[in-house]
């Protein structure tokens, strides 16, 4: 047996706890009222182009991404616009959203809703990228970076590999896993389209070894596709991070401050590949996604295909309601996700999972002094010194933090996970990154 690939530096092994991994994806009905936030991707919020009282169909464009980093947003339901108002988002601040009262389920003409698989695609590079932009596709791994920007390759760079992230290294979540099992063919066609858009002839799918069924399924299917290979990877968090995945699969290191394209790679999530298949072949904009609802005491965990804008209460109810002693609800996975303030927020393009934790597991351990064990240094996948960065950020020594590459931190949380003193390392590093980022921005704008 050959040795499994993985990234070289750092990494941790949290327990998988993938309770929903064996459960097929359930398609949920559209909600009674959909709240579609207008800032669903990284970058500037989209600008609404509908008004109160407008009749809307499924798939209709309701907000345009006008800034460079921004994306289009389409309606996921049909009905009437109730209002355009500020609504609580997962941080508790109010963000502008379009609220739609759902009536029926009427789709915009031209969207192919059948499940028949369509493989031929005769579009040119530019046409594919234009469709990706038009249909509001963003990275569905959780970071929600608008995908079309990744495909605007600078002239002096040549892509060599397309890398597809099927790692799903977040514990507990299984949305990508299920999607690869159930929509494998579609994902592969999506990859084929992306390869053409990039002009590369090699694509690699990285899947962690704890999903043998998905590896086998995709390996069998990929025999039909030229240039697509499936690679089993050793289980290690954060393998799903862009730079770590490139290191695992291609063996290259992305230098500090550079992008994957600088080493000839473009990385996309498997969910994004599926969304691109649907956008290009079926003309369907990004209006739904797969969400895993799970937790140690959730009655019926599950993977759901839901429309964007569905309140997460609906999802939790489908999974048997909120368990009695729930202390924390997390939007995303337990490692990278954020605790949410209210369960009335809607599903957005970046919601990959909802995890409910009981009170006993929800609290932090008390913070003790740093004992200089350097465990955090050993697990840091970027080769940073988290203990040092955290202290520098805590005491506002931002110059020193910048010198120690605080901006390279990918916020994976491995340091905090491993710290025996329970120090909130990542929290302080995030604070430091925020401040250092502002300092750098001020400096560059001054010049």
């Amino acid at each position: 047996m050959t040795k499994l690939k993985t990234f070289i530096r750092g990494g941790i092994h949290p327990r998988g706890n993938k309770r929903a991994a064996k459960l097929p994806i359930t398609i949920l009905e559209p909600p009674k009222q959909a709240t579609i936030p207008l800032s669903q991707s990284l970058g500037a919020p989209s600008v609404p182009i509908v008004n109160k009282g407008d009749d809307i169909k499924v798939g209709q464009l309701i907000a345009k991404g006008e800034a460079f980093i921004s994306s289009n947003i389409h309606s996921s339901v049909s009905g009437k616009v109730n209002k355009i108002d500020t609504v609580l988002d997962s941080t508790g601040y109010r963000k502008i959203s379009v609220i739609i009262d759902v009536e029926g389920d009427e789709w915009v003409e031209g969207i192919d809703r059948s499940t028949t698989i369509k493989r031929e695609c005769n579009l040119s590079k530019e046409e594919v990228v234009a469709i990706i932009k038009d249909k509001g596709i963003v990275g569905l791994g959780g970071a929600t970076f608008p995908t079309h920007i990744k495909y605007m390759i600078p002239k002096d760079r040549t892509p060599e590999y397309l890398i597809i992230n099927g790692v799903e290294c977040e514990p507990m979540l299984s949305a990508d896993h299920r999607l690869m099992l159930e929509k494998g063919m579609e994902i592969l066609i999506g990859i084929e389209i992306l390869m053409k858009a990039l002009g590369v002839d090699k694509a690699m799918i990285g899947i962690e070894n704890n999903k043998p069924d998905a590896i086998e399924h995709l390996t069998n299917l990929s025999k039909d596709f030229k240039g697509i290979t499936v690679h089993a990877l050793k289980v290690k968090y954060p393998q799903g991070a862009e730079k770590q995945l490139i290191n695992s699969l291609v063996g290259r290191k992305v230098p500090s401050g550079k992008l994957p394209i600088d080493v000839g790679c473009v990385v996309n999530n498997s969910g994004t590949a599926y969304a691109i298949y649907e956008a290009v072949q079926k003309n369907k904009p990004l209006i739904d996604r797969i969400v895993t609802v799970t937790g140690p005491f959730v009655k019926e965990p599950g993977n759901y295909q839901v429309r964007i804008g569905t309140p997460i209460t609906d999802l939790i109810e489908k999974s048997g309601g909120i368990p009695e002693d729930t202390g924390k609800i997390i939007n995303g996975g337990p490692m990278m996700g954020k605790a949410i303030l209210t369960h009335e927020i809607p599903v957005s393009k970046g919601t990959s999972g909802i995890v409910l934790f009981p009170e006993a597991e929800a609290n932090r351990v008390p913070m003790l002094n740093c004992i200089r064990c350097t465990k955090c240094v050993m697990v840091c996948p970027m080769g940073l010194e988290p203990y040092l960065l955290a202290v520098q950020a805590e005491f506002s020594k931002f110059e020193g933090a910048e010198k120690h590459w605080i901006m390279d931190c990918i916020e994976c949380g491995s340091c905090q996970y491993t710290c025996p003193s329970g120090r909130p390392l990542l929290d302080f590093i995030r604070l430091g990154k925020n401040k250092v980022g502002t300092i750098i921005r001020n400096r560059t704008t001054k010049k």
Binding site: T91, G92, Y93, R94, K338, L341, N363, R364, E394, P424, D427, F428, R430, L431, N434, K435
Partner: protein, 288 residues
């Protein structure tokens, strides 16, 4: 020759040569500084707090001596007494300026703004502000984690553990503005201290619509505009559902506070209110 004598001669000659060089270099690059700068710097408090907006006390003295006037240059720590002394030294007239004080514009105590969540992350406001809205749900509320307390060089602001809000020590606060810069939500403002420390201000910075603001905090400004209509001096303006009392225009007539339906307007250090009978015969307020 005696080795000791040799060493002495060599060192002596070297010393002489370098001494001469240093003398000429010193003459050539002489920095002439007004002796007044040092004299004034000696008078200053010497805390280097930066409250004047300059790099420190020496920079302040320098700026004063070059400008020869108090226009735009003010040491909030020294106040009028210091200004008199400096004016005497420089031979100019002191400028009368009312002393300022830091004012915390949030009254969201544990009782007024009930906590809906529990935050157990790092205790810095800057981080918590980026992370979430605050325990009460008000996006402009004081987070009570004490960035202002840490930033204060004069030990004049402290978080009250009973209310979760900072309290400004009136005797110690010199209005240097360190806390104003430290607060990520811009809750703290410098306002004139007022005669006998009497002040009236809107103790809220929430810009949400009234109903939403009120849901999170019972003493929030709901933007009803009653105070704006009642003010005889046009001192109150309403912007983004939030009233603001201009301290320069406010004559401390106390008409606005009783009409505020939520009690967001605070009066400090006033004598208790007598029963006032309005024109329509209803009593407005008997509150202290």
């Amino acid at each position: 020759m005696n080795p000791i004598l040799t060493a002495l001669i060599i060192l002596g000659v070297l010393g002489l040569v370098f001494g001469i060089i240093i003398y000429f270099v010193g003459e050539k690059f002489k920095v002439i500084e007004d002796p007044l700068i040092d004299e004034i710097a000696e008078l200053l408090p010497g805390g280097n707090c930066g409250g004047c907006g300059l790099a420190g006390c020496h920079a302040f003295a320098e700026a004063l001596v070059t400008a020869r006037s108090f226009e735009g240059i003010n040491c909030p720590v020294g106040g009028a007494v210091l200004e008199g002394q400096i004016a005497h030294l420089l031979g100019i007239d002191p400028v009368e300026k009312e002393p300022d004080i830091a004012v915390v514009r949030c009254n969201g105590t544990f009782e007024n703004a009930k906590s809906k969540l529990k935050y157990d992350g790092p205790a810095t406001c800057a981080f918590a502000h980026n992370l979430f809205v605050g325990e009460s749900g008000c996006p402009n509320s004081c987070l009570g984690l004490g960035d202002c307390e840490v930033s204060c060089p004069f030990d004049a602001i402290h978080i009250n553990s009973k209310t979760g809000l900072p309290i400004v020590d009136e005797d110690k606060c010199v209005a240097c503005g360190a806390c104003v810069k430290a607060c990520p939500r811009s809750i703290i403002e410098l306002r004139p201290k007022g005669k006998k420390s009497r002040r009236i201000y809107v103790c809220c910075t929430n810009k949400e619509k009234g109903a939403i603001a009120r849901k999170n905090c019972v003493v929030a400004c709901i933007g009803c505009g009653k105070c704006v209509t009642v003010c005889p001096h046009d001192a109150i303006t309403m912007e983004n559902n939030l009233a603001y009392i201009d301290p320069q225009k406010c004559k401390l007539c106390r008409k606005c506070a009783p009409v505020c339906p939520t009690g967001a307007i605070l009066e400090l250090n006033f004598p208790p209110r007598k029963e006032v009978v309005a024109k329509d015969g209803l009593s407005i307020s008997t509150e202290a």
